[in-house]
Symmetry: C2
Subunit: 354 residues, 2 copies
């Protein structure tokens, strides 16, 4: 197969973890006889520094022409505490999601037996957790208009807005995922307060009869924020709007104790995007210590979701499990054993594949 | 002292837990020679059933004329899954907050040594947690206009809006609380996406120099949702907008393992309101099994915050601690020991005070 991957390393540890995923992807291509090419683009703070734009047109063209995007991380502390900054790295991310039509962010949370003891939660609460969020990614308060300030600058406003179609297409993905899993769908909203949430709930209620094998539950976002910690095993598939998804997927990501390993996919159009959920982690940048496994597992998801190559995907996750079993891991999960460098883990994984 | 308390038992277990707090408050009045009178009002689903209005004018008059409001809980499942219901119990709660000017919701999270093992988190993460949220309660997306649907009903929208003054008055409460505590204030926002959040951050940055002894940190709401579970002891005072506060205070409430015991206060105007954070818990209603200690501790906060009677407040929290030590507790925390009824716990506490 001919595969053309757009690489967007981004900021902080992004370039280092992407480099390891590239080694793994190349090894898979060699082993299975795929011709894989890579096109690299700038995104985030590094793109602002180089071009003034966090998502330059040139980068968009690379993404739009690719078969899939492999993304590192963006964000730089120099932009965080300047509320008046005109251009911010995050704008690039948001524009990218919108221009590529990536309306669904898929975030699984699951456990690795060898890491579950690192969870902040007690073992009985997390052992065997296996849930997945479908977060709406191109609507809601992230993009709603009007937004801004009054003339004097003393008042600020944002608009949360959802159309029925936006909800339907996201919800259908959730229903279909639930059908292939434990057949439980939780719709997370704030229907007791928000008009948008009532449209979410109403729309999901209308769709439910089309998926009679799926049990649908409706929960308020505040209740889910609690129950996710109290008993995360109660959940299977969760669907929710952009902002609630932002908060809850991050909350969920720490539950399993394997945050550095959690992959994600953003879907919706021809071009799909894959990225680890950890951020740019600027303190670790350039030190060759970042954990590359979240990015490598994102590459595994890419073979599955974007190319339909499940054997390749499985081989990648198998070698990741092997690296965990044999302790070929970075310092964040080394636990007294030898800590390997980011680049060493990547080399080891690629060698195991070949 | 002459004290006039408005009682709003509300729905579900509300009436049962309020009845116990009343016993305790009466005992304190008798012991310290205060003349305490109670006026009861309807609120929530029971108010809709009786009057068609979840916060009838008569109830508002009782509250406005009182020295403090003691509130139980509201909410009934029959309203939850009907997105088209015209009148909902929550509307009463929101109207009450707004009409009484209760712009700050104060939610402490702390541990009881005898209960900390009930936390879903590991002991080292929660032992000694002591944080308090100041959640803005009368602004944001809860009240912003416009909100609703387009004509065809296929699109819904909500408006989040904050003025500088709304932020200033809430933030000052947080700064002042931090000065009396560990001197750390965390401003929680989504300034990388939302215009309202940027006004929050900017406003807090402007106020900070007035409180040079307080260290101020700015964190995104998604990061706080993670760190609250990873290391809750890192926080002291957190300030945030209405919706983020709704989600995060509920998340925080499960950390200590003592959710049934957590009190809260809503401040802002002459009349202050006190309520347990647990909801109406309809499944337990009428069974005399609900834990009354959250409401009793809310009454303790009332003596302190509303009447400036700290000795009375301390006596109440002392007898609560005694009931925990001696195992005079409801089934949710009885742990194999004898489980007492809601009413028995109330009787025991009142008798201990006298
Ligand atoms: C960086 C930020 C704009 C972004 C978001 O809020 O969507 C991030 O938190 C994420 O979840 O990918
Ligand atoms: C019932 C609901 C409207 C309310 C809120 O969202 O404020 C509740 O969750 C709370 O936190 O008191």
């Amino acid at each position: 197969m001919e595969i053309n991957i757009a690489l967007l390393p981004g900021d902080g540890i992004g370039p280092e973890v992407i480099a390891q995923a590239v080694k793994v992807v190349k090894a898979v291509g060699q082993k299975f006889g795929h011709t894989i090419s890579f096109q690299e683009g700038l995104v985030g703070a590094c793109a602002i520094d180089a071009t003034g734009d966090p998502y330059p047109d040139a980068t968009h063209e690379i993404c739009a022409a690719s078969d899939a995007v492999l993304f590192g991380a963006i964000g730089d502390p120099k932009y965080d505490n300047d509320p008046k900054a005109k251009v911010r790295p995050e704008q690039g991310l948001l524009r990218m999601r919108q221009k590529l039509g990536l309306f669904a962010n898929v975030r699984p949370t699951f456990t690795f037996p060898s890491l579950v003891h690192k969870s902040p939660l007690k073992l009985d609460r997390v052992d065997g957790v296996d849930l997945v969020f479908f977060r709406e990614l191109t609507g809601g308060v992230y993009f709603g208009e009007p937004r801004g300030r009054n003339e004097q600058g003393t008042k600020a406003f944002d608009t949360n807005v959802y159309s029925k179609e936006e909800i339907v297409r996201l919800a259908r993905m959730g229903f279909e995922a639930a059908q292939k899993r434990r057949k439980l769908l939780t719709c997370v909203d704030k229907a007791n307060v928000m008009a948008t949430s009532r449209l979410w709930r109403e729309t999901v209620q209308e769709l439910a009869p089309e998926y009679p094998d799926v049990k649908v539950e409706y929960e308020f976002v505040d209740a889910v924020a609690m129950r996710l910690i109290q008993w995360p095993k109660a959940y299977d598939v969760l669907i929710t709007e952009n902002l609630f998804g932002d908060i809850l997927t991050d909350e969920a990501s720490v539950i399993s104790g394997s945050m550095g390993l959690m992959p994600s996919a953003s879907l919706g159009s021809k071009v799909k995007l894959f990225e680890p959920i950890h951020g740019s982690y600027p303190q670790a940048a350039g030190k060759d210590i970042a954990n590359p496994l979240g990015t490598v597992l994102s590459a595994s998801m890419m073979f599955d979701y974007a190319f339909g190559l499940s054997e390749e995907a499985k081989l990648i996750s198998d070698v990741v499990n092997l690296s965990l079993a044999e302790g070929i891991v970075t310092e964040d999960i080394a636990e007294g054993g030898k800590a390997y460098k980011t680049s060493e883990v990547g080399d080891w994984l690629a060698a195991k594949i070949l």
